[in-house]
């Protein structure tokens, strides 16, 4: 199963390495990882997307919790949450395809950020499934570059991950 784990990390050099190291050392897989500072300069927040059986996920959360730099952690997929990822995608857009590409972009509620002579840069925001779906929809040969931020997530309502 796919799990989204949110962590608050001490904003220390090496903290990110410790997390990445743990995944490679123990053979856990990482689908995506995104990390940045928060309103509190002493912590950064990381969102990790991983997959595995319940036993594996249990080990992952326990092992992460054991890292001295991990302040708090939660598996936000355990309850209601919001997930967003951003993609910048550069596509070939020429001739008839140009109009068609714009239509697909509109259907997915994407935005065209840059209009080149033969290309578009499209910005798309949504959960990872939506972004995957967009990529699947566009003809492979028209895709020139893909940049994905990796998922971010946050629990709904009163569920909070704070120091």
């Amino acid at each position: 199963m796919r799990h989204i784990i949110s962590l608050l990390l001490e904003n220390e050099p090496g903290a990110l390495c410790r997390v990445a190291n743990l995944f490679s050392a123990r053979g856990f897989n990482i689908e995506s990882l995104s990390v940045a500072a928060t309103e509190d300069p002493s912590v950064s927040r990381m969102t990790l997307v991983t997959g595995g059986s319940d036993d594996v996920i249990e080990q992952i959360t326990k092992q992460l919790n054991k890292l001295v730099d991990v302040v708090r952690l939660t598996d936000i997929t355990e309850s209601a949450h919001v997930e967003r990822e951003m993609m910048l995608i550069k596509v070939r857009a020429t001739g008839e395809g140009r109009e068609e590409m714009k239509r697909v972009c509109d259907i997915f509620r994407g935005r065209i950020l840059d209009v080149g002579e033969t290309t578009y840069i499209i910005e798309l925001i949504g959960d990872s499934a939506k972004i995957d779906a967009f990529i699947d929809t566009v003809d492979d040969r028209l895709i020139l570059e893909v940049v994905r931020s990796g998922s971010m997530g946050i629990g709904r309502g009163d569920r909070m991950l704070r120091v």
Partner: protein, 567 residues
């Protein structure tokens, strides 16, 4: 730094100098509160500090230089990490402005050690030094202990920087708070299960030693009357000569301990981590049992084997609480069922699975260990290296006290034994300390004989010299049709002469009739290191053995026991 170490109560600093730590060495020169021990190789320093820590329960402290000093220490750090031993390892680093420039003797020490420490730090500002040292000691010694590395660039220790120092009395870390106490509800649930057992088994490990909870364990086991087994790391936590003790379990555990594991209906795991050398094939592990597991590290629980009632907490405190609960209830285990269970266990015991064939002409390694036990009255500190000799020491030297059996279990580091024994001897100068080793392992840190001479450490080295990497040869015999690929050790030195050249006493013992007198003579030399080179039977194997992929009930017994194997 030296003032801090003194305030922290550090007695010994095991180290080796070099460019990046010269400022620190200059400070060492100017004081004599913290005794610096000059080793001959940084690996030796880490194992010595480790032996000291295992014997005393206090953290071992190491100081090495940058680059090769740090990399030489890595094996010892990883050894401590696998066995959860508290070490604080201070490594020198190139000056802050040179970091990342491929400077002379620069390695990314924090990066290299990251996977094999509990935590590590790079101190870039002298103002952070005292508090970081405090954190390092705190993290190393609390919760599930482990090694902590502090990498200190040379400019941070420059003698011209003068800042006010105050010993940080306490340290608070919001991201690190080990469990102090178990969950009472879980304990009640566990007790319910424990008291309803008909074929119970207590399986304890290194956690009991680390938490100094032997007393609580004894009370617990005795009040229940349940059979008790220890892992290799747990030996001594429960008295080895106790009638409830059924020996070590696992790959080279006793037949009775492993059979009891297989047939038990309730397994009580205490401070043990269900290691693969203990479990064997996970699919065949304790097929009839409900499992209780007490451990301070949540990630140890259900890591390899799914448990039914986990209790996260320090063993000592959890057992104290559970002992009080046992006291408070008048429920007792089913005496009849327990009696029947013990009868089965006694039957398994009657096989006498550790029996070996004695010889008049050739020294049997087991015999040496039995004599060592007699002559030291079972009261010595025994360290070991890694191999067959390690297993025989575990089998033939029953430990009645914790912290007496000191060996590298998790990493299995050859070369550990001698420096570890020296670390123990530093802590207890008057104690009998013996290092049981093999001719393969001993040479991996043999240089420390020189350190032993310098500090007058009267360690007794018991070298079980079978001219083979015996453990490797045994596997080749069993699994590779005796193709002895590179397990025979050619061109061995004359160990007695080698020891003499270091200024110690050397002996070569070739006849079984001389074993006892040699040991007596050696232990009578209370102020000398004696190296006893016992020329032993090269063909002897360690039995019983649980081969890979087998369950506890499928042990391979020695030939002489095989005919008596029971169902």
């Amino acid at each position: 730094m030296l003032q801090f170490l003194k305030d922290e109560g550090v007695e010994f600093l095991f180290g080796y100098p070099g460019g990046a730590v010269l400022h620190i060495y200059d400070a060492i020169y100017k004081q004599d509160d913290v005794k610096h021990i000059l080793v001959r190789h940084e690996q030796g320093a880490t194992h010595m500090a480790d032996g000291y820590a295992r014997a005393t329960g206090k953290p071992g402290v190491v100081l090495v230089t940058s680059g090769p000093g740090a990399t030489n220490a890595v094996t010892g750090i990883a050894t401590a990490h696998m066995d959860s031993i508290p070490l604080v390892v201070i490594t020198g680093q190139v000056p802050t402005h040179a970091i990342g420039m491929d400077a002379f003797q620069e390695v990314d020490c924090v990066g290299i050690t990251r996977p094999c420490v509990k935590h590590n730090y790079l101190v870039k500002d002298v103002h952070d030094l005292a508090i970081t040292l405090k954190k390092a000691f705190h993290v190393a010694t609390s919760g599930r202990p482990g090694p902590v590395v502090i990498d200190i660039p040379k400019d941070v220790t420059h003698p011209d920087i003068k800042i006010p120092y105050e010993y940080p009395q306490e340290v608070r870390m919001r991201s690190y708070s080990p469990v102090q106490k178990g969950h009472t509800g879980q304990m009640k649930k566990a007790l319910e299960l424990i008291l309803s057992a008909e074929r119970p088994m207590i399986y304890t490990g290194g956690g009991v030693v680390l938490d100094d909870a032997s007393e609580e364990l004894r009370t617990f086991a005795r009040s229940l009357g349940y059979p008790t087994t220890n892992t290799l790391m747990g030996l001594g936590a429960f008295p080895g000569t106790d009638s409830q003790f059924v020996g070590m379990l696992g790959m080279h555990g006793t037949y009775e301990a492993n059979m009891a594991m297989h047939h038990c209906d309730v397994l009580i795991g205490i401070g043990a981590r269900f290691d693969d050398r203990v479990v064997g094939d996970v699919k065949k592990f304790c097929p009839h049992a409900k499992i209780v597991h007490i451990d301070i590290d949540p990630s140890s629980i259900s890591k390899t084997v799914k448990v039914d009632v986990p209790i996260v907490g320090p063993v000592g405190s959890v057992l104290r609480e559970m002992n009080a609960m046992i006291n408070a209830t008048n429920r007792r285990p089913d005496a009849q069922a327990l009696e029947a269970w013990w009868n089965r266990i006694r039957e398994w015991q009657s096989i006498d699975c550790l029996r070996y064939e004695q010889s008049d002409t050739c020294i049997k390694p087991q015999f040496v260990l039995q004599k060592l036990y007699e002559i030291t009255e079972g009261d010595a500190f025994i360290t070991s290296d890694v191999g067959q000799h390690q297993m025989w020491a575990a089998q033939f030297y029953p430990f009645d006290k914790p912290r007496r059996w000191i060996n590298s279990g998790g990493l299995g580091t050859m070369g550990f034994g001698l420096p570890a024994a020296m670390g123990v001897q530093f802590a207890y100068p008057d104690a009998k300390v013996a290092c049981v080793t093999g001719e393969g392992s001993i040479v991996m840190c043999i240089q420390e004989l020189s350190t032993a001479k310098q500090y007058g450490l009267p360690v007794k080295v018991v070298n079980l010299n079978n001219r083979y990497l015996g453990m490797v040869r045994q596997w080749q015999e069993f699994m590779y049709e005796s193709r002895e690929s590179h397990s025979y050790l050619d061109s061995l030195p004359d160990f007695a002469a080698l020891a003499e050249s270091f200024g110690h006493v050397g002996m070569t013992i070739e006849s079984p009739g001389d074993v006892e007198s040699a040991l007596e003579e050696a232990f009578a030399m209370e102020d000398r290191l004696v190296f006893m080179d016992f020329i032993t039977d090269p063909t002897e194997n360690v039995f019983p053995m649980m081969m890979q992929g087998k369950g506890h009930h499928e042990m391979l017994l020695s030939e002489m026991c095989r005919d008596r194997e029971l169902a």
